[in-house]
């Protein structure tokens, strides 16, 4: 938005637009994904962002309807990365942390998963289910990657902790692992990112936590 004096010149494109044009993404979904990635990286300061794609079903609509567990026609891009702070803590987990004197800063960072979407894009329960069905696979992939990049990153920093705290933390991780199966502290979750691209859209990205199944809301 520099040159307003000469009416003939158009304002120069934004960095993200340039980025998308440069890469020449084939599908609009991927362009959306790039935009969300950009937003995560530069506005929310996420790190180690990785992407994945759930391939679409290149079949006719008849067979699509037959099997509800099949993913939809369109490919769905996924993103994953480390936010600088925890984005979500289940109310019961929060209570546990409070009771055991565990602060968020004591915990190792947690990978979050993101579905980039945009206004007007086709979306159904089938899409949502496909994302959650694919999530374990993607998770495994990124965890392998994380181990490869930094083998120690998965361990909590044990050096400068007093033994009592370390014990509490160990208990916490234990409990966390168990709750993954019992779903006590919530089920699989992703962030739904929606880019405002509609008429007059300003590129704002809204983020919503989506849980699989019924997960009680936070109360704060």
């Amino acid at each position: 938005m520099v040159d307003t004096q000469e009416t003939t010149t158009r304002p120069s494109a934004s960095a993200i637009t340039e980025h998308i044009t440069e890469k020449g993404y084939q599908s609009p979904h991927l362009a959306t994904s790039a935009q969300v990635q950009h937003n995560l990286e530069h506005q929310h300061l996420w790190t180690s962002i990785m992407g994945d794609i759930i391939p679409g079903q290149a079949v006719d609509s008849n067979t699509l309807n037959k099997d509800p567990s099949q993913p939809p026609k369109e490919p769905i891009p996924l993103l994953s990365g480390y936010p600088p702070h925890r984005v979500y803590t289940h109310p019961d987990e929060q209570l546990y942390m409070l009771e055991n004197g565990i602060r968020e800063d004591d915990l190792e960072p947690e990978r979050m998963f993101v579905i980039p979407t945009t206004q007007g894009q086709p979306w159904t329960l089938r899409h949502m289910a496909a994302v959650f069905d694919r999530l374990p696979e993607f998770k495994q992939k990124v965890e392998e990657h994380d181990r490869f990049v930094d083998p120690t990153s998965m361990q909590p920093e044990a050096e400068d902790l007093d033994p009592q705290k370390a014990g509490k933390l160990a208990q916490y991780y234990d409990k966390k692992e168990k709750s993954r199966l019992t779903k006590e502290w919530g089920s699989q979750r992703v962030l739904l990112a929606m880019v405002d691209k509609g008429m007059g859209g300003d590129g704002t990205v809204a983020y919503y936590v989506v849980h699989e199944g019924e997960v009680k809301p936070r109360q704060n």
Partner: protein, 443 residues
């Protein structure tokens, strides 16, 4: 974008909800009714809102409280509908409706003081029975001895001074414990009275569905009656309403409305403006919109910039209710408790209400349906100097949306944005000041 306004959404949740809670929004804890003395003569106040928990826990305390709440609810709902001998209003169910008495015996004029005093002195006409003419064909319950406040706003008397009630009126009286209705006619002299009083269930079974009464309409009717409003059926009550040519009050309004363009007044107005300011170039096709003349104030400029035609509700003709599509049609005329109400000559309604059932109508009204609904109501322009003329609008209607017994009221008004020219406001342009993030505070 975790900025200020988003945080603001969460923060005021506690603060702002407190003063303005609609108690009927949520299921209330019936334990609070225990504190009321049901038999007290003074009308009891409404109990305070109770605290609720976030989620069940295995404590016994919680279980006890819940069981106490359920017990209280059980007791409150078990409370019977009683009729003391003194205040009892006895009614009779007549499923076939009002049948005018056979006028074989002209010699015995019914001298009951049933209506306005006038007719007694003038013996010439064969008694047109002014009141019974107002008895709706849907009326199906009559009260031989009407007494009490309710009949000020309900029912219509026949020549025998019996008040005939519409099904919703009768049901309301029975339900609130003020009317005792008998199935079947009263016993004749010397007969054994074996007519059984109607249970609440019988009353619903008999009256619901009678004469166009739906449960949704009834929910709206009683909900407003309980708050003290008076209600009358509007002409649009019948779904298969047809336009009667003879209907004088709507005779003139048959021309289709022009929904687009400024209307005649608007055209005249712009013509006038054009004459008023001859220096301007009328054609915008070649030159700048505001012309090349000298402009001494912003008003002229804004006026010229207003090139988009707008809808003027004043120019739209009033339409017959038959032009509307049910359920987007006014079925109740509603009068505030403070409005002086006379059954024989009802005043102008304070509200016009359309009733929509969410299970029968699952989509929003179209613009055509909404437009017709609004235009079936009379012009009700905002008063001069009114604070929010846009909010008040030029026509308005209340939509009562009923979702399985839960009623939400929405007021729809025909706002004339084109008529509220911001640039004509006193104090001139106030852009930057007005756009500050603090909103003008309402009282």
């Amino acid at each position: 974008m975790a900025d200020v306004d988003e945080d603001a959404i969460k923060a005021p949740a506690n603060a702002s909800t407190e003063p303005d809670v609609d108690l009927s929004d949520e299921t209330q804890d019936f334990r609070f009714l225990n504190h009321l003395n049901f038999f007290a003569d003074a009308s009891p106040g409404i109990p305070r809102r109770g605290e609720k928990d976030f989620e069940p826990n295995p404590t016994e305390l919680q279980a006890d409280v819940l069981s106490a709440s359920r017990g209280a609810m059980h007791n409150a709902l078990s409370y019977p509908r009683l009729h003391n001998t003194k205040t009892r209003v006895v009614a009779f169910y007549a499923p076939d409706g009002y049948v005018p008495p056979v006028k074989t015996d002209r010699a015995t004029p019914k001298t009951g003081g049933e209506d306005e005093k006038s007719s007694e002195s003038t013996p010439k006409p064969p008694r047109p029975l002014p009141n019974s003419a107002r008895i709706s064909p849907d009326a199906c319950v009559y009260v031989p001895n009407p007494k009490g406040q309710f009949f000020k706003t309900m029912g219509q008397a026949d020549s025998l001074s019996r008040v005939w009630l519409l099904p919703e009126e009768a049901l309301y009286l029975i339900e609130r414990g003020n009317g005792l209705a008998h199935l079947g006619p009263p016993a004749g002299p010397g007969e054994e009275d074996l007519s059984v009083p109607m249970s609440l269930q019988a009353a619903y079974a008999c009256f619901m569905g009678h004469g166009g009464l739906t449960l949704e309409r009834y929910s709206v009717y009683t909900g407003l009656k309980r708050l003290g409003y008076a209600l009358l059926r509007a002409p649009g009550w019948c779904d298969d309403l047809v336009k009667e040519d003879a209907d004088a009050s709507y005779a003139t309004e048959t021309t289709p409305p022009t929904l687009h363009g400024p209307g005649l007044a608007g055209i005249l107005g712009s013509l006038f403006n054009w004459i008023h300011d001859p220096r301007s170039t009328a054609s915008t096709a070649t030159g700048p919109i505001i012309g090349t003349g000298i402009h001494r104030n912003y008003m002229d400029i804004y006026r010229k910039l207003a090139i988009i035609p707008w809808y003027d509700p004043i120019t739209a003709p009033e339409r017959h209710p038959a032009d509307t599509t049910p359920p987007f049609r006014v079925v109740f005329h509603v009068f505030k408790p403070s409005t002086p109400f006379k059954k024989s000559a009802p005043p102008t309604p304070d509200f016009r209400v359309a009733v929509v059932s969410t299970r029968d109508q699952t989509t929003m009204p179209t613009m055509t349906q909404l437009g017709a609904l609004l235009e079936s109501t009379p012009l009700d322009p905002p008063a001069r100097g009114e604070n929010g003329p846009l909010r008040h609008g030029y026509r308005n209607v209340v939509m009562a949306v009923v979702d399985q017994g839960v009623v939400s009221y929405l007021r729809v008004a025909d706002s004339a944005f084109g008529k509220e020219k911001l640039y004509e406001n006193k104090g001139g342009p106030q852009g930057p000041k007005w756009n500050r993030n603090q909103k003008p505070r309402k009282r």
